[in-house]
């Protein structure tokens, strides 16, 4: 599992961690039932504060991607792939919308943008 903290990113660090772990779950790099590193060892490994990693796990737990067993640690849940895919699509739509706005600023027509996508796809 790869987690990379980007300080030039506008996203809070804990959200970056949430995003990277989510990606690892989607790509089956970590599997249902796998144990996640402890809050404290992850903090040290990433050189971030303990409260940051704690918040990331809380967020992942709230989203139903991981669960905790008291006194033991955090584990990967069987992901709701449908929900995750919807989420990914929504995120992609958001990014696409930004690109369309960019295109409009450059006076590109829809056809011209479609051509661009066709060429690059």
């Amino acid at each position: 599992m790869n987690i990379r903290i980007r300080t030039d990113n506008n996203l809070p660090i804990y959200e970056q961690i949430v995003g990277d772990i989510k990606k690892a779950i989607i790509n089956s790099e970590i599997l249902p039932g796998d144990m996640l590193p402890s809050i404290r060892s992850l903090a040290r490994g990433l050189e971030v504060s303990i409260i940051t990693t704690k918040r990331a796990y809380e967020e992942l737990e709230k989203e139903g991607l991981i669960y905790s067993e008291t006194g033991k640690g955090f584990y990967v849940k069987k992901p709701d792939t449908k929900k995750l895919r919807e989420e990914q699509l929504r995120e992609m739509e958001g990014r696409l919308e930004e690109w369309i706005q960019e295109g409009k600023k450059l006076n590109l027509t829809m056809e011209e943008m479609q051509d661009m996508i066709k060429e690059l796809y």
Partner: protein, 286 residues
């Protein structure tokens, strides 16, 4: 969980300067950064906590023991790294450690020698002849060798090269990792606190302006970018500070949950931004 360090309504006057009603607490297993511009009172606070300055009022508790009442027992639990050297400058590193080690119930000379080796500290050089960075290393090695649970450091990173600064931050993380020990350290370098501090106490004019988890502090404020006209007519309340530049302007404001900033470009501020904008904006609560 019990507090490892509790500072309650601490007051201290030093000449013209006053520490005013300082209160905060720190649980075991966390790193707390004491932040503030030069002259905010960070060093005075640390010296007062350590009873190097006798307090005028209030209390300092470590593991529920009051510092002044049980100074010996409390200091046994504290490892410190101070700007001013508390050791005997004319004596060698190892003689200092042996001598001052006697003041601690659990000083481990073997462990001290191991840390010195790892940190590259020459045992037989006098403390006075060590460079600033080496003095910090020496103090850290000593602090780590007597089984302290609370580490108090005053500007440990000032005067260190970037390499050892990074190492120092890693040591701090190692100290707190098992959840039983904590670090309180002052700095005016916000970068050191940005990622690794769990809590921040922001001081201003001898008082605590705010004290909260670093993630909450960063979430509390936003920076909104725009043209001069956009920023001048910003439709948001709770603006603390605005700055207009030739090539772009921004506003620093208190955020509210779920606020939609629409077309504006928004970012979470760095601690540096927070300090700068609060300083410029007059430290107003909105």
């Amino acid at each position: 969980m019990e507090d490892l360090l509790k500072v309650e309504h601490l007051n201290k006057r030093v000449g013209e300067f006053c520490l005013k009603d300082i209160s905060f607490s720190l649980k075991p297993g966390y790193i707390m950064g004491l932040l503030g511009v030069n002259g905010a009172g960070k060093t005075t606070l640390i010296h007062t906590i350590l009873n190097l300055y006798k307090k005028d009022g209030g209390g300092v508790y470590v593991d529920d023991m009051e510092m002044e009442e049980e100074e010996r027992a409390v200091k046994d639990k504290i490892g410190f790294v101070l700007d001013e050297n508390m050791f005997e400058e004319s004596m060698s590193v190892i003689r200092n450690a042996k001598g001052f080690g006697k003041l601690y119930s659990k000083f481990d000379e073997e462990l001290f020698r191991i840390f010195c080796k790892n940190f590259g500290i020459p045992l037989n050089k006098t403390v006075g002849s060590l460079s600033t960075g080496m003095k910090v290393r020496f103090q850290l090695a000593f602090a780590l060798s007597h089984d302290a649970v609370l580490f108090i450091m005053d500007e440990p990173a000032a005067g260190l090269d970037p390499l050892f600064r990074k190492e120092l931050m890693r040591y701090m993380q190692e100290i707190v990792e098992d959840g039983t020990r904590s670090v309180l350290f002052s700095t005016h370098i916000t970068e050191d606190l940005e990622k690794m501090s769990d809590y921040i106490v922001l001081m201003r004019d001898g008082a605590v302006f705010l004290s909260m988890p670093t993630v909450d502090l960063k979430e509390r404020y936003r920076i909104v970018y725009g043209t001069k006209e956009q920023i001048e007519t910003l439709p948001f309340f709770r603006v603390i500070y605005k700055e207009y530049g030739e090539y772009g302007s921004y506003a620093f404001l208190e955020s509210t949950e779920g606020e939609d900033y629409g077309e504006y470009e928004v970012k979470e501020p760095l601690l540096e931004d927070i300090m700068y904008c609060l300083e410029k904006g007059g430290y107003s609560y909105v």
